[in-house]
């Protein structure tokens, strides 16, 4: 970031946003300097992390953002849009000093149109607030990432998020039909909402997934749905992963659109407490009450023991040879009552055919009731001195088993790894790996984290799968982007240099170098 000698950043920002809406306060800079990327959390715990945020601003209108970006282009200071900071890839973490633009004051519902089934919002709105607004009026967005309480619509669009009910309601790119975005040069692009158009390349899709590198998204028009009149829960136990994948594929290829499809491998079924209320690593010990007693008397001792066990991942991974709980599948059908019932019946037949045991609705209902709490439980693992991270990938059905076994084998060398399959499509599926491990020092932990990610990414590229299904690129995958996109990366590079000549929008993310193409 270039030095500003005659240009006074603080003065200019305060003039633009108002005194109260600009902060250089160290506490604000610390809080806004990262998102939920695990390696930064680890560094912070060890006292080895400092924020690169230069200041924080809170815009209330598009015009202010336009002026800011114009200024940033000419005075060459970096800008990073910030929603609620729940990304897990370091997408909003500044690598070099940057102005953080917190969008959350732009949080209004601008237009609610139940007749056309669309809603227009300012993108700083918290997703759960929007959902609540719609529910109160008999509607739903259908977008349920587990971060729903702490993410914004802008963040959803910027990262290409997908929620737990994406199989029925679609992913974010299926939901957005109109957009307002401020370009890095300050001009405001508006794509008028329409169900569909053939007016050249889809400009909206240029920004969905741009992770703050192509401009700042300010408004969006999204499709909405009537709240479903019926919701049917069903859980099944499959003998193994193979039979469950086969059933999932058949279901998705039979015109059935479950709102939820989640299939847990053996370890995930045993550990994560899917369908159980008290899920968690701690509950694998059959002597649950004894463990709870120990924990209350000797909390430090229990933590140390757990840490020791967790760093011997190869021990834990052997458990799946012993645990024979099978593989749990959760299905939910919703919408028109007759159709939902038919979908459930057809899906049940398919599951039966593939060797599943019907468990009734209860495990699925329990998952549904606890579906958001799991992410919050992860922080306990960090307090124990271990850490947890997730890697989500996707591929076509014919490569799915191979991808699963390759990545599982790669990660198992270093950590306890759980996996579930969700976000199923007609042509393929996503796999969500959760891994837990520990290390004696920060260096050890970062080292093992790096090795795990490297082996997982390499496995994806080898199989021909994608390195991210919905979490995005941010920092964690930035160095893999050229390999992931290979020949087509050049298109993104050309667009970046064309629309952000000074290279100030969220630099070092998405695999972009700091400086544009010409200067390389």
């Amino acid at each position: 970031m270039s030095d500003s000698t005659s240009f006074n950043l603080e003065e200019s920002l305060k003039k633009l946003f108002g005194q109260e809406n600009v902060s250089f306060d160290p506490l604000d800079l610390t809080l806004y300097g990262r998102d939920c990327m695990p390696t930064s959390i680890l560094k912070m715990q060890a006292g080895a992390w400092t924020s690169q945020a230069k200041c924080v601003v809170w815009p209330t209108e598009t015009r202010q953002i336009s002026e800011l970006l114009k200024l940033a282009q000419t005075k060459k200071f970096d800008v990073i849009p910030f929603g609620a900071g729940s990304g897990v890839c370091g997408g909003t973490e500044p690598v070099s000093p940057a102005v953080i633009v917190d969008m959350k004051r732009m949080d209004k519902v601008l237009d609610f149109d139940p007749y056309s089934k669309v809603v227009t919002v300012q993108c700083g709105i918290i997703l759960e607030h929007l959902e609540r607004y719609l529910n109160a009026r008999g509607h739903t967005l259908g977008h349920f990432p587990s971060s729903i309480y702490c993410c914004t619509v802008g963040g959803n669009l910027a990262t290409r998020s997908a929620g737990q009910m994406s199989s029925k309601y679609g992913k974010i790119e299926d939901m957005v039909i109109g957009l307002e975005v401020v370009m890095p040069t300050g001009s405001v692009v508006r794509v008028r909402p329409a169900p569909r158009r053939s007016t050249g390349p889809d400009l909206i899709q240029l920004f969905v997934g741009s992770e703050g590198t192509f401009g700042i998204i300010t408004e969006a028009t999204l499709r909405i749905w009537k709240l479903p009149e019926e919701r049917i829960f069903a859980a099944f136990k499959f003998p193994d992963v193979k039979s469950g994948i086969s059933a999932m594929r058949e279901i998705m290829q039979s015109d059935i659109k479950p709102s939820v499809v989640r299939f847990y491998d053996e370890l995930d079924t045993a550990f994560s407490g899917a369908g159980k209320e008290e899920g968690g690593i701690l509950d694998i010990l059959p002597i649950k009450e004894a463990a709870q007693l120990l924990r209350s008397i000797f909390p430090g001792l229990v933590r140390a023991a757990q840490r020791a066990v967790l760093s011997r991942a190869e021990l834990l991974n052997l458990i799946d040879k012993v645990v024979k709980e099978g593989c749990l599948m959760i299905l939910v059908f919703e919408g028109n009552r007759k159709l939902a019932k038919l979908e459930f019946e057809e899906a049940k037949n398919i599951c039966d055919k593939n060797g599943a045991e019907y468990l009734g609705p209860a495990p699925a209902q329990k998952w549904y009731q606890n579906r958001y709490s799991i992410s919050y439980k992860q922080s306990k693992v960090f307090y124990m001195g271990a850490f947890v991270d997730t890697i989500e990938v996707a591929t076509s059905w014919d490569k799915l088993s191979l991808l699963y076994s390759e990545i599982k084998a790669a990660i198992s060398r270093h950590a306890l790894v759980l996996a579930h399959f969700s976000h199923a499509y007609v042509d393929g599926c996503s796999i969500y790996f959760t891994f837990v491990t520990s290390g004696l020092s920060l260096e050890d932990r970062l080292k093992v984290h790096k090795e795990i990610w490297e082996s997982a990414m390499k496995a994806c590229l080898r199989v021909g799968a994608t390195i991210s299904h919905h979490h995005g690129v941010g920092l964690v995958r930035s160095s893999w982007m050229q390999e992931e996109l290979s020949s087509s990366f050049v298109i993104l590079d050309i667009i970046k240099s064309g629309i952000d000549p000074s290279g100030v929008m969220n630099p070092y993310k998405l695999g972009f170098d700091k400086r544009p193409l010409e200067e390389k």
Binding site: S198, T199, K226, T466, I491
Partner: protein, 468 residues
Amino acid sequence: MSLNLERYYSLRDIFGPERVSQYLSDKEDYSRDMWTRLAIQMRRGERLETPDFIVWPVSVDEISKLLVLANNKNFPVIPYGAGSGVCGGAVGISGGVICDMKRMDKIVDLNFESMLARVQVGVIGENLERELNRRGFTLGHFPSSIYCATVGGFVATRSAGQASTKYGKIEDMVTSLQAVLPNGTIINTKAVPRKATGPDINSLILGSEGALAIVTEVTLKIKPLPEARRFLSYTFSSVKSGLDAIREFMQEGLKPAIVRLYDETDTAITMNALGYEDITGCLLIVISEGREKFVEVESELVNKLCTRAGGKDRGERPAKHWFEHRYAISYRQSPIMSSPKMILDTIEVVALWRDVESLYVSMKSAIEPHATVMAHFSHAYPEGISIYFTVMTSAEGDEVRTYDDIWKAAMTACLKSNGVISHHHGIGRLKAQWLKAELGEGYKLLTILKKGLDPNNILNPGVLGLGE
């Protein structure tokens, strides 16, 4: 002369003597697509702008070499499918080379486990459909041009077929593609169901109408052939009640393959052709297809909602008749165009439900002073629907002038009434002048894309209004 000879030798080196032509008859054939304006000009004896050469590549490497040559020697290249576009997207440009993709028509791979087909883009839509049918599958993409359109054309124009309400539009079907950039670089996007690795590059190439890249291969999602098919027909007393019925069942989450509502004028013509006499109002055709049990439930629900909205059940016959003759209409129209002074064209737009009726009324009254106009509504969504106007007249004065007046009136009314100027035919050169108004600042983005990818402006210059 000597420039052309040098050019000929360079092209011959890439394509071989059999696959390069400068015959006058070829140049004239490839000077246009099915844009009505060009047909009018040709009909009255005007000489259209012709390309200098036509080439027929059989590999992506040949196309890469062609584009490298085009950049070095600064001549335009126009990718050409089967030439059935109606917007002047693929036309002759003086000094240019038409790149006819139809020799690249192979099905490269069929993956039934993942329901994917990998094809070269020069394959005719109907031929691909037949190959898939033989194996029990369908692409589900049925534009009325299916006999004379290529997959490449579908991709370039963002086409939508008649059954799009169930099977999706072309962007819902393409999972990955291979293309050649104007500088000769061959790019490939990954064939995965979905990814979050930056903006979707497929979406930038889809709909670029040959201005940003030449697409050579695509991976398409295929579906099993439907087990059952049900035909439903209703008449409504007004366009409004018909639209209400559609909105109701679309927002209930139903996805019938075919949904077509004809306005009063179009209904009268259609019902006449069917032999129904005392029937007035607006005809709604709904066809549900898929797995037997789903078709049963879907038809039942559609019937309930259509009846509730005031629809009178007309049984199977009107829908069946439409289905059996659904491609014939375009071919029936061409004799009209062979008469001097006749103008026949179609204008298709789209809007959210809240704007559909006023858009219909506003465009109809804007066009009526110039031509007879009838309309049907199809490609239904929970959020809105597309309107398809057919306009016809015998020009009193200059035909081209009348043609331009019709389009100007229609497009101006469309933009004023919150409609989007094209649902699936695309922009070409016909609608380029209104694209700027349609996209606003977004148009600058298109020009940035164009400048960045095609700095020498060699790929189909003028289409989308870019690089004029």
